[in-house]
């Protein structure tokens, strides 16, 4: 995705579909973060309500509104996936170019004091955080 296309994609949609677009993006971001249940809840409630409202205020419910919603969801899913991939590529490049390996090491700590529960303060860490550490170790070549 070029920068122009990215800017274009972030341009607000015209009412009444702007709220639908925002909700679609939230759902896709939640799915990208592995929070499927939360995404499903929003899909079933907020998105359903926003889409019904937009349909009523537009040309009414029907195949055209359905198709528009499906297109918006597919578009947002693709955008989020592209952004994630973009970040995956960009982060190590920036880190290397700036000579700052701290970002990677912060994700893959050596734990010199080897204390238990050295993760996120004040609570149980999520499994996705552990996986992130594992992947960071792979990238840093420490595993």
């Amino acid at each position: 995705m070029t920068l122009n296309a990215l800017v274009e994609s972030l341009r607000p949609l015209e009412p009444p579909w702007s709220e639908v677009g925002r909700t679609c993006r939230r759902i896709c971001l939640l799915r990208a973060a592995g929070r499927y249940a939360e995404a499903q809840r929003i899909e079933d409630t907020e998105l359903a309500a926003a889409a019904a409202k937009a349909s009523r205020e537009g040309s009414g419910p029907g195949p055209e509104a359905d198709a528009r919603l499906a297109t918006m969801l597919a578009g947002e899913a693709e955008r989020v996936a592209a952004a994630v991939a973009f970040a995956e590529i960009l982060a190590p490049m920036l880190s290397e170019r700036l000579g700052d390996r701290a970002a990677i090491h912060a994700q893959a700590p050596k734990h010199p004091h080897r204390g238990p529960g050295t993760g996120a303060p004040g609570g149980v860490r999520g499994i996705a955080d552990f996986i992130e550490e594992m992947l960071a170790q792979d990238r840093a070549g420490t595993r």
Binding site: C28, R31, A32, A33, G34, Y36, A37, A39, Q40, E43, D44, L47, A48, A51, A52, S55, P61, G62, A65, D66, A67, L69, A70, L73, A74, A77, E78, V80, A81, A82, V84, A85, A87, E88, A108, P109, K110, H111, H113, R114, G115, P116, G117, T118, G119, V124, R125, G126, I127, A128, F130, I131, E132, E133, M134, L135, Q137, T142, R143
Partner: protein
């Protein structure tokens, strides 16, 4: 990672039905079916757990022998049900006279890629008989598995699963062993926060410090000595004591699984076997004990090395939380022998315990939990 690349994203796990959203009575758009698999790909046995994303349901739970049987040429029609050319697991073992048995893994890693690929297809079939679901799998690998071995798993899974994540088995065992419903209870000792897991399989024994962060290479030790090595030593011992006994490796394994123990000799241990069609009683007390005690000698130095690597702040609690899982946890006395040895060496009130009756499922259960928690960008895409 030659098989991996970033490609156009797959359809999201579920899409809303525009028809339903609009409140119209039209039929909903079909949702793409997706399924998550937690797979403990073991040298002798594999455990498969599967379920949909976004829930805690487990729709498939199976433990099967990791073996593929290729039907021999010339087998007449009807001998093999359905005249299939490949059998798997128990079916393959039952038809061992009529098939060439191939175990895809040796010492925890894929040794026969084609058989591994066929086995993966079977796993997929078990999890999704429709063959239409988009499947993502978290697969357990021995601690500190080399990249070449990881790549073999990816290749075997290519075209079978759409995405994959490879995670060390002892860490998955800790995740699987964790009782999620009690994690926030004050008295619960979370194994993911501070424990030492010993996962004794067929090919490798893996030890891993799990202390609230993802274990580094230094926190994990994999020893290429486990159930299969014990079988081999026991078999050699039997051949010396009872020449021409005619027992197959599989029979020896069955004897071991029924009578394995560590610690002082439990002689006499009389075991009835059938040799050449005749029943015979063999005294195997020393043979079994000697073979199994070698495992203790192999594991113990690794165990103390990992204890030494933990901080003085955490070691006292860690010593209370040493957990043995995998098939080796069924060796009688393994917990008490290790605990006594630690005590005798001056370690402070060590407590070694067994994971329990679900020992065959913890790795796969941890893998399924990881699959459900993984972020979209953490999956590795497998291109066909």
């Amino acid at each position: 990672m030659s098989t991996l690349t970033i490609e156009k994203p797959l359809a999201p796990p579920s899409s809303p039905s525009p028809a339903a959203i609009a409140g119209a009575p039209r039929p909903a758009m079909p949702k793409p079916s997706s399924l998550l698999i937690g797979l403990d790909l073991g040298t002798n046995k594999s455990c498969i757990l599967a379920g949909p994303p976004g829930s805690t349901d487990i729709t498939v739970s199976k433990v099967i022998p990791s073996v593929v049987g290729y039907v021999k040429d010339g087998i007449v029609d009807g001998i093999i049900t359905g005249n299939v050319r490949i059998l798997y697991g128990e079916d393959a073992l039952r038809q061992r006279l009529h098939v060439d048995l191939v175990a895809p893994l040796e010492q925890g890693v894929i040794a026969h890629p084609e058989a591994a690929r066929d086995f993966m297809q079977h796993v997929r079939q078990l999890a999704d008989s429709s063959g239409r679901a988009e499947i993502r799998a978290v697969v357990g690998v021995p601690a500190n598995t080399e990249e070449q071995a990881r790549e073999r798993i990816r290749k075997a899974a290519q075209g079978v699963f759409s995405r994959i994540l490879l995670i060390p088995e002892p860490f998955l065992a800790a995740l699987g062993f964790r009782d999620d419903s009690r994690v926030k209870q004050s008295g619960y000792v979370d194994p993911v926060v501070n424990s030492l897991f010993i996962d004794i399989g067929a090919g490798t024994s893996d030890l891993c410090l799990v202390q609230g962060y993802f274990p580094t290479r230094e926190d994990q030790i994999s020893i290429p000595f486990a159930g299969d090595a014990i079988d081999s030593i026991l078999h050699d011992g039997l051949d010396r004591t009872y020449p021409n006994n005619g027992l197959s490796r599989l029979s020896v394994r069955e004897i071991k699984e029924a009578h394995a123990y560590v610690g002082p000799s439990r002689k006499p241990l009389d075991i009835k076997v059938v040799i050449g069609g005749k029943g015979r009683t063999l005294e195997l007390g020393d043979a079994i004990g000697n073979a199994c005690n070698i495992l203790i000698d192999k594991i113990y130095p690794a165990l103390t090395a990992l204890i030494a690597a933990s901080s003085s702040d955490s070691v006292v609690t860690l010593l209370q939380n040493i957990i043995i899982t995998g098939g080796g946890s069924q060796i009688r006395g393994i917990d008490t022998v290790l605990q006594r040895r630690l005590s005798d060496d001056g370690y402070e009130s060590p407590k070694v315990r067994l994971a329990g009756q679900d020992f065959q499922r913890y790795v796969a259960l941890g893998a399924l939990k990881a699959a459900r928690a993984a972020r979209e960008n953490q999956w590795q895409v497998l291109l066909e």
